[in-house]
Symmetry: D3
Subunit: 130 residues, 6 copies
């Protein structure tokens, strides 16, 4: 494994969460906005752990919520670096859902977040020091 | 104004918010995820007020955060229906930012949220009863 | 419209919110305290947008909760400047409630918040620079 | 002590809280709305502990915030029954503030909350069973 | 009463709280973690009010949750200093639970939190100035 | 790997989190109570994912906070099943901390949470169906 691949592997970030009724809509599924917030949080942590620089989100991709995430399920929000640019990285974020009281999991939501490294003057800086 | 146009006008939805330091990152700007969450919330309320049906988010468009939203600014998150389909609507969501202690505002973030009307069996239903 | 009237109009502030079961009491209506908190927040934003100074609440008026606000309704909390003094303003705050799945809205709660402009030494200063 | 006086004494309710910077405004004092929310919460608990019925807030009195409550102080929000009517009670709520790192406390905010006992049909019922 | 005993008595700290369904698990009882968080908060406030120094938690004792705390009960989390060392204090924290709509209370959870006084360099300092 | 070992491996649960200043005390370190709450949450999810039964916390072990967790660090809270009894499991929970802008991580806090499987009548049931 190259040094970069090792660094990408070490930056993988995961947040497990129980979907409680109080974060769901009237239809008893997780709000899209709650999912987007958690995806951005995981992207931020993964990008920071990869670069060890101050990272800010510059864009989120189109996100499809084709499969509802009902209350009383467990989700895992996983982030992994999929592109390393000069001053930015892409983080692929997947949400897996598991029934609380049954085996198995499915991939429920996917998105791509682009994060840029910035200095104190808000100017882009290299993601990795060379 | 047609009846539909009146209904669209009446559904316009707005949330003002102070960006406090505790919702900002290390760089003292609003997290992308917080902005996405508020945008989805406004889209949900606007779509519900338009249709008076149970609405769920099916997709969020690509969102660019080209302009940072620093702590101690006031934002207005505005949602307006821009397309009415048979079982879904599009809600354009704009975030305007204002300095707390200066005049003027700028359009800082834009996104499009597609919301679908569903019945109790999670099947799409017409957005407007005919 | 005079310059002051225009400034008052521009300062009008609105927050839409879904009343979820998790902000309601055992009786499934919004807590009075949640309503008071949102009313003060709207008053603070309206007063700040009017004066562009640091504003603090000096008093809230008697507030009557004669009409309950049940879970699964949408509310709009609206604030508007109704008096401009030398160092303070009054903000009238109204809460309108709408059924999520029916047309129509009613005025449910009203209150008056007095906000004063202060400098760094916590001394009152003119609300508007002359 | 009469039975009623004993019941009033037993219903006294207290919440201590550290005022953290994230609940304060730009001026570093507790938002009026946060204080009002805590006062209503204490009134609700005191009234419930007195009556053991479902209680709802029907009004809050005029509340003056003459003394600011800065970040990094400790507050105690105290509620006590001061009037027992047929279907309602008044709860006097006082907020005391203490410096974290100095002795002494002062009474900073006072308010009166009127709470009514209701049945499942939202009709007022006697506060105390006779 | 000695001066120390008076100081211990004055530092007693109490937080009443309604256990709402949104802080309970699928089984409708308060999460152990929510109870632990409130116990630490009460211990922190009691220790700070006793010493008027910056206090940090150094350990929590074994805590048994033998009795579940269901939704729609009222709890009181009480903290009292039980040992005063040179640079640390022990705070005994008890959680009492009351039915909302019945008389009586029971001791439901107990724990001991050890808090140490620290200076700006994170070095232990005497709890009480001599 | 035995079937039980595989099931234990599959139940491993992880939550990454940025320690923001608003969850830290005056001393700018994470509150003990916040750490305990996250540890219980991870234990609950790990135990649920192992057993697929309703789990409740019956005890938390003594927890030492010998190393402070300052603001602006990233933590990973990891839970793993370490004992499988008839009606209960033990979950070992470790908190690792990483500087945001430096490489490396250290084990900062450890605890053991015992979780029991219960049925609808709150009676213990076997953790694994045989």
């Amino acid at each position: 494994m190259t040094k970069l691949a090792a660094r990408i592997a070490a930056a993988q970030t995961s947040i497990f969460k129980v979907v409680f009724p109080n974060t769901t809509n009237h239809y008893k599924t997780l709000f899209g906005g709650e999912a987007l917030k958690m995806m951005d949080e995981v992207a931020f942590i993964a990008a920071t752990r990869f670069s060890r620089k101050t990272m800010v989100t510059v864009s989120s991709s189109k996100v499809d919520f084709t499969m509802p995430i009902p209350a009383d399920t467990i989700i895992e929000v996983q982030g992994a670096i999929t592109r390393v640019g000069r001053t930015s990285v892409d983080v692929q974020v997947n949400i897996y859902k598991e029934e609380m009281y049954e085996e198995g999991r499915v991939l429920a939501v996917q998105g791509l977040f682009t994060m840029v490294a910035v200095d104190e003057n808000k100017e882009p800086v290299p993601v990795i020091d060379v």
